[in-house]
């Protein structure tokens, strides 16, 4: 059950999206998230939606996988849609029952927000689906380089992130294991009130922490044995270089931004 968490799952591939430089991807995804929020009417939203779908098709990530990413936030989507439908009283009334009324304004707002959330999820999950965690952290490290001026070490941050990502599956396995072992001694993890359940977590959490510290020490020693001394003077196996795909992607996104702005000006805003 605990294994179902998909976190930054990477789908290897060789699509144009996969080939983008991780730095470009980070910057572009950030830009796209802003562009999505800039959309003010259905025309600009449609443009962005088409763009997101084209990106997904280009990446060759199966739609089923993308939908799975949506499953976790279905609740959020439903909640916001319902709130919009019942609390927005603009436009003509479609249906009424005592004080509850559903209006065209409410329905169109609900649709607008749902589509927007789906676009947000698609674009941001494309980043993690098409970039391996190592490349991603490498990209972040390079982008954060200016922080060195204020004495924050981007290399250290990136290394911490890489290690954290690496150990998530290990820890999940470990939790499963410890849970089984404590259940074998009669630990009851499933019944009782909140306080009892919180208490029942102690036999799981303490071994987990103790083992994590042990692992951390082991890892630190192993890294030191291989002469790891932080980022200074380290060279890289993969040298990042912007290529044609990157420039094309920047151009497309610039055009997209222009398109959204034009459509926002030409048509009436709904939000």
């Amino acid at each position: 059950m605990i294994k179902d968490i998909t976190l930054g799952q990477y789908f290897p591939g060789n699509s144009p999206i996969h080939r983008l430089d991780p730095r470009s991807k980070l910057v572009l995804v950030f830009a796209l998230l802003i562009i999505i929020f800039l959309c003010q009417n259905f025309f600009s939203l449609a443009l962005i939606t088409v763009f997101s779908v084209v990106c997904v098709l280009l990446s060759r990530i199966p739609f089923k996988t993308m939908m799975k990413g949506l499953k976790t936030i279905v609740f959020v989507i439903l909640l916001t849609s319902i709130l919009q439908i019942f609390y927005n009283h603009e436009g003509t009334i479609l249906w009424q029952w005592h004080k509850i009324q559903i209006t065209t304004g409410g329905v169109s707002m609900a649709i607008f927000i749902t589509v927007r959330i789906i676009c947000l999820i698609f674009v941001s999950s494309l980043l993690t689906y098409t970039t391996s965690p190592t490349l991603l952290t490498d990209g972040i490290e390079r982008l954060l380089k200016p922080l060195k001026k204020i004495h924050i070490e981007p290399h250290t941050l990136a290394m911490m992130m890489t290690i954290a990502l690496r150990f998530i599956p290990t820890l999940i396995e470990e939790v499963d294991h410890i849970m089984a072992a404590q259940k074998a001694r009669g630990a009851d993890l499933e019944s009782g009130n909140l306080i009892k359940r919180a208490k029942a977590l102690i036999p799981i959490l303490i071994p987990l922490f103790v083992n994590s510290f042990r692992r951390a020490y082991d890892l630190a020693y192993a890294m030191e044995c291989r002469c790891y001394r932080g980022g200074d003077g380290r060279t890289r196996m993969r040298i990042m270089k912007l290529s044609g795909v990157d420039f094309a992607a920047y151009a497309v996104c610039a055009l997209l931004l222009a398109g959204v702005i034009v459509l926002n000006i030409c048509f009436e805003a709904v939000i």
């Binding site: 089984a180 072992a181 259940k183 074998a184 001694r185 009669g186 036999p203 071994p207 103790v210």
Partner: protein
């Protein structure tokens, strides 16, 4: 009535995912009461998966597990109670200690059983004595002790529930020869003193030869053989096809026999080998 009866057990990890793996494939197994039994099989053959069904930690995809005639998956309550009767000690149990003191950690199981203070105290004292943990260690933190001591404390934590069947998954894994001998002798000692049935899981034939009465060989999710140590070890060719080798001692004696030395067959431990060679050198030949 048999102690354990497994009927047509199938278990699949990650069913309906691309990573699904049939770990147990129509397993039938009967275990009688008493003695030390051993499950052997190479890594990934399904030993750990099998034993987790015996105390209802895993629920079969199909098939049934009976403990003393009772279906262990009959209801949630039965599954819960069965864990006190079938004590399962996992591989590397030392990484599952959590209490402030050795005493409290051993007492975790008995406490969950709902025993009173006196009964808990008696159970802890007895369990600790099985594995050579002296009362002067009781108030120490389990995290301050040596690896071998931690493992023995974890074993005591399961023994303290006084289970009718004690299952130990790879109890000697990762120990030096001295630690290994110590654990094996504690296990034999436990069986003698408690009179309970013990089931050990191992991939070491030497461990099995040294303490088991009955051997169950698991291969690729199925029971491949079951019988006495002598019966199973005499089928060394089949065993080696399953990635298992008979104990080193047996191989040496077999080699000597092939060279024409008149030694008896069916020798599995160093002591037996020493005896046989002693007899041979004294001129007695095979007895």
């Amino acid at each position: 009535m048999s102690l354990v009866e497994v009927k047509d057990l199938v278990y699949i990890y990650g069913e309906n995912t691309p990573f699904c793996k049939t770990a147990l494939d129509h397993v039938f197994l009967t275990l009688e009461k008493g003695g030390i039994k051993a499950i052997i099989g190479h890594t990934g053959s399904g030993k750990s998966t099998l034993i987790q069904h015996l105390n209802a930690l895993l629920t079969p995809n199909s098939g049934t597990v009976y403990f003393e005639g009772q279906n262990v998956n009959e209801s949630k309550e039965v599954s819960y109670q069965i864990r006190f009767r079938v004590g399962l000690c996992f591989q590397y149990p030392e990484y599952q200690l959590f209490e402030n003191t050795v005493y409290q950690d051993i007492a975790f199981g008995p406490k969950n059983m709902g025993l009173n203070e006196q009964q808990i105290d008696a159970a802890v004292q007895k369990a600790a004595s099985y594995v050579g943990i002296t009362p002067d260690l009781f108030q120490q933190s389990p995290f301050d002790l040596s690896g071998g001591q931690k493992r023995r404390i974890a074993m005591a934590g399961v023994m303290a529930m006084d289970p009718d069947l004690l299952i130990l998954d790879e109890p000697t894994a990762g120990l030096d020869p001295r630690g290994r001998n110590q654990i094996l002798s504690f296990i034999r000692d436990y069986k003698e003193r408690s009179g309970k049935t013990v089931l050990i899981v191992s991939h070491s034939m030497d461990d099995v030869a040294e303490c088991a009465d009955e051997v169950i060989v698991v291969n690729d999710g199925k029971i491949a053989m079951q019988g006495s140590v002598r019966e199973v070890f005499s089928r060394s060719e089949e065993l080696s096809k399953m990635g298992l080798t008979v104990p080193e001692t047996t191989r040496i004696i077999e080699r000597l026999r092939a060279e024409g030395y008149d030694l008896p067959a069916g020798i599995f431990t160093v002591e037996q080998a020493a005896q046989a060679i002693y007899h041979f050198l004294k001129g007695g030949g095979a007895d």
